[in-house]
């Protein structure tokens, strides 16, 4: 395990894997990313991040069922590992603790978050 830190883009992708669940494969993740952020991303970039996350041990993958949409080809479905969950949680906790220390938001506004 070389690197266990989670980058920003990596974190987003990791979250999308969790959100999409059974449908978490490179094309769908890219699609969802574009829909929700309004930014474009290439499938290669998503795929590259996914494989990096898998190298770090945050993701597992296996080949899904073939589908006619893809010319009968199978897709690689990613799932978050326990380590991945932990890393996400750690990242979220860290951010929350930072928000809590940020004066303008430290009061009521945070509760709506």
């Amino acid at each position: 395990m070389l690197e266990t830190k989670l980058g920003d883009f990596e974190e987003t992708i990791l979250l999308f894997v969790g959100i999409l669940n059974e449908e978490a494969y490179a094309f769908k993740i890219g699609e969802e990313f574009e829909k929700q952020t309004g930014r474009t991303v290439s499938i290669g970039a998503v795929h590259s991040t996914l494989s990096r996350l898998a190298d770090k041990g945050f993701l597992e993958s296996e080949m899904g069922d073939p589908s006619t949409k893809r010319g009968g080809r199978r897709k690689r479905i990613y799932t978050i590992t326990a380590l991945g969950q932990k890393a996400l949680k750690k990242s979220r906790d860290f951010k929350i603790s930072l928000w809590n220390q940020f004066p303008p938001f430290a009061t009521k506004k945070l509760s709506t978050f």
């Binding site: 499938i43 290669g44 970039a45 795929h47 010319g71 897709k75």
Partner: protein, 867 residues
């Protein structure tokens, strides 16, 4: 998804590109994702945009995690080279016999190619070593003979000079008399006389041919009529040095012609790859002095004509100008002139019916082809032996592949193996060449010396590499194609394709060998046919020597005196010996001659008793006799009488060069030219003035004694001259020197081809026995006789040989027929040759196989079945 989108597809090129660089295990998912993206874009965007996006996506996969590892970055080539080298040497050590077979075969093949290559290069550079050599041309003449044409190098004396004057594109022209016409001429100073061969030329000779002048100016040396330019060698021989020779006077003489000359220049010896060889040159004006009564006009042909055209001259238009030129000079026609590049004539010197018909180039092509085939046969051995041995290396290949060697690294391994062997063969081949070159030079009558130049080294290495590549390619592709899983499962069914390929290659080899055997047989038979053919005259026990000195004035008394000598049967003089075309004329007319149809006659000056001496049969009339005045009589051959269409020719009068002559005899046709030619019309004329050759007949069985007597008599009779005689049959055989050379060369090369093929067969038999060892053991136990097993093993190969024979016979028939066509008189292609070739091939095969199969007698079934 909408149906119509289905028809739009992403660009196949982009897909190809992706697959080329993408890791194989990612291909499926990535292609799937990209397809989904593409079709989802199509739903609300244009096809063009979707396609563009596909390209964009493909390029975005150029990321380290997705890109294949290319070998370029992975392998250490030097390490692999060392590894391959080690494997190759180990493999050589392990299979010594097949290594030896390959080494012998490839080195012989390479040696053949190198020798032939040297020969071809040498021939190719013939006559090409002059400055502005591409501007030098030669004029040839097509003479009408009957309804065909005969091409001659001889041209009118004045042609060169007049052409240069009248055609502006021609810078310089020179006549040139071939040096062999005057090879017995003598150059003498007081107290020294040296035989040298030289040529009469025009004054511009050295401006056309850039022979290097050691002394003298090329514009001046031949200006003066009494000048002579001699070679460095001749200067040394006569004067002892170049300096000493300059300005000295010498006497030139031949027979009883004499002329005083002054050395005006010295040239560097003529290089050996030049077809015109001479020791001296001097102005042709002297020829007209020594032979004063020679008619000089446009239909009397003697020297060759060379000229140098101005730079950039269009040779086709020049050629038509030369044709027009002779039409104006000689309106009655009879022959046409045409122009060919000087250096072309050496390789393309054969003309048939006035048309170019090859020449030495044919032999060059033939031998290049043979050398190439010998090498191919050797390469085939390599292929066959290494693929046959594949079963033994199966496990090696399997392990290599299982560990991770891919196909290309296996291919490079086998190629380096074959390269190593061909490099080793090259060193052996070079040794062979070094040893064989003197003999080769002797056979080809050449002076080839190997000088190391980078071109030669580059050529040698490229031949070697190509050999390695050819011989290694098939085994490399074949062996590397095995699937490791099959190998270990033992599922290696010997693929039928490979077996057939191997058999096909053996058939190819043997067909070539059999073609060579048959061809050599036929060439030999034709040559012995030529040498033993009844020529219509007797050439045995006849010697001839030049008439010189005192003999020239007293020919008849010399003859009557030598007749007294023991062992000498008789003598007669003549213009030259009977061999080859000598002097031709069209100046013979008769009553009823069709003026449109010129007939060219061979003009043969002879003395009394010549026809009897040569045993030429007189059909009608009589031979020349001392009892008659013979100054206006002719004897003709049958062909001449037929060509003239005369009936009862004896006593008829014809006109030769304006003088009436009576036909007194008709002789049977005899072959005065080589058997390539038909017999042409000929007349004999009694001509004691132009007698250059003395012919003497010796008694059979007493030749040695007779020559000793003659030699002793000659020295006392003709002091100052040496007795240079030649046997007529030797001279006759010299006409066929090039045929003999071809016969000898093809014999050797056919020998090599056969040797190499047999070596290959030897190796294959050994392998086949080894593979079938257990089968043989079982057969022996079950009671098969040794002979039965022998039959079984040789049957397989005999089938192959029979197929080869069936292929070889028609091919060699065509080749032989083609070759024999060039002879006017040739042997019949009997079935015997082909039978002999076939039987020879089968015998050879059985012999080769039996060398191996002898082993099966010693096989003890117990040994081969227990291991």
């Amino acid at each position: 998804m909408n149906k119509k989108y289905k028809e739009i597809k992403p660009s196949p090129l982009a897909e190809k590109l992706l697959l080329w660089f993408l890791k194989e295990d990612l291909a499926e998912e990535v292609l799937g994702d990209l397809d989904e993206k593409f079709y989802s874009l199509l739903e609300n965007q244009s096809a063009r945009k979707a396609k563009m996006n596909y390209w964009f996506q493909v390029f975005n996969y150029l990321r380290p995690f997705a890109v294949k590892q290319f070998k370029l970055f992975k392998l250490n080539p030097f390490f692999m080279f060392k590894h391959n080298f080690k494997l190759a040497t180990r493999n050589i050590k392990k299979h010594k016999s097949s290594f030896l077979i390959n080494l012998v075969g490839l080195s012989t093949g390479l040696a053949c190619v190198i020798l032939i290559g040297l020969w071809v290069m040498d021939e190719w550079n013939f006559d090409k070593n002059f400055e502005d050599g591409d501007q030098i041309y030669r004029v040839l003449a097509n003479h009408q003979i009957g309804d065909g044409y005969s091409t001659q190098v001889h041209t009118p004396d004045l042609l060169a000079e007049t052409l240069a004057e009248e055609i502006p594109e021609i810078e310089y022209g020179t006549p040139f008399t071939p040096a062999h016409f005057f090879k017995t001429s003598k150059i003498s100073i007081p107290g020294k006389k040296i035989t040298a061969a030289g040529s009469f030329v025009g004054e511009n000779f050295f401006q056309i041919f850039s022979h290097k002048l050691i002394y003298g100016n090329k514009d001046e040396v031949l200006k003066d009529k009494s000048s002579i330019v001699i070679s460095e060698q001749l200067a040394h021989n006569v004067f002892g040095g170049v300096e000493e020779a300059i300005g000295k006077s010498v006497e030139w003489d031949m027979v009883d012609f004499k002329v005083q000359l002054q050395v005006s220049g010295v040239f560097q010896n003529v290089s050996s790859n030049n077809s015109d060889q001479f020791d001296y040159v001097f102005p042709i004006a002297n020829f007209h002095t020594v032979v004063p009564d020679r008619p000089v006009h446009w239909d009397n042909h003697f020297p060759s004509t060379y000229f140098k055209a101005k730079k950039g001259t269009d040779i086709a238009s020049l050629d038509s100008k030369v044709k027009q030129f002779i039409k104006e000079k000689l309106p009655e026609g009879g022959y046409q002139l045409f122009v060919v590049p000087y250096s072309d004539y050496y390789l393309h010197g054969t003309y048939e019916n006035g048309k170019q018909a090859g020449g030495r180039i044919d032999y060059l092509m033939l031998f290049s082809l043979i050398a190439f085939f010998v090498l191919i046969i050797a390469c085939i051995n390599f292929m066959n032996l290494s693929t046959a041995k594949a079963t033994r290396r199966m496990k090696e290949i399997g392990v290599q592949k299982a560990i991770g060697a891919d196909r290309s690294s296996l291919i490079s391994q086998y190629l380096s193996e074959s390269m190593l062997i061909s490099l080793l063969s090259l060193s052996v081949a070079l040794t062979i060449v070094a040893i064989a070159l003197p003999y080769f030079n002797q056979i080809t009558n050449k002076e080839i010396a190997v000088s190391l130049s980078w071109q030669l080294i580059a050529a040698l290495f490229s031949i070697t590499l190509i050999t390695g590549l050819i011989s290694g390619s098939y085994p490399a592709l074949y062996l590397s194609s095995f699937k490791p899983a099959d190998i270990f499962k033992g599922k290696m069914n010997r693929s039928l394709g490979a077996l057939w390929a191997r058999k096909g290659l053996v058939i190819f080899q043997f067909s070539l060998s059999i073609i060579l055997i048959i061809s050599v047989l036929i060439v030999y038979q034709q040559i012995s046919f030529i040498q033993n053919k009844n020529l219509g005259y007797e050439k045995d026990n006849i010697i001839h020597f030049p008439i010189e000195g005192k003999i020239a004035e007293n020919k008849e008394s010399f003859i009557s005196q030598i007749k007294q000598l023991n062992g000498v049967k008789g003598g007669a003089f003549s213009f030259t010996n009977l061999m080859g075309s000598q002097s031709t004329t069209m100046g013979l007319t008769w009553d009823g001659k069709n003026p449109e149809e010129p007939v060219r006659f061979e003009n043969c000056g002879i003395g009394l008793g010549f026809i009897e001496l040569m045993n030429i049969e007189v059909l009608e009339g009589r031979a020349f006799s001392e009892n008659f005045a013979e100054d206006s009589t002719l004897i003709m051959n049958q062909t001449a009488i037929n060509a003239m269409g005369l009936k009862d020719p004896i006593g008829k009068t014809v006109n030769l060069w304006g003088q009436d002559q009576m036909i007194i005899g008709v002789v049977k046709d005899f072959h005065f030219e080589s058997l390539h030619e038909k017999v042409n019309p000929l007349f004999f004329r009694y001509n004691p003035e132009q007698a250059l050759t003395m012919n003497v007949k010796l008694e059979k069985g007493k030749e040695k004694e007779a020559i000793a007597n003659l030699s002793a008599f000659y020295t006392t009779y003709n002091p100052g001259y040496s007795f240079n005689f030649k046997f007529m049959d030797t001279a006759y055989q010299e006409q066929y020197n090039s045929e003999k050379r071809i016969a000898t060369l093809s014999k050797y090369f056919a020998g090599f081809a056969i040797l190499i093929s047999c070596l290959g067969l030897f190796g294959l038999t050994a392998f086949s026995i080894e593979r079938r060892m257990k089968e043989i053991g079982v057969r022996k136990i079950l009671g098969s006789s040794n002979f039965g097993i022998l039959k079984l093993l040789s049957g397989e190969f005999t089938k192959i040989i029979i197929i080869s024979i069936l292929i070889a016979i028609p091919v060699s028939y065509l080749i032989a027929q083609n070759w024999l066509q060039q002879y006017a008189f040739s042997i019949d292609l009997s079935i015997g040759f082909f039978l002999a070739g076939a039987i020879g091939a089968i015998a050879m095969t059985w012999f080769t196989i039996s060398l191996q199969t002898a082993r099966i007698y010693a096989i003890n079934p117990k040994d081969c079945l227990t291991d």
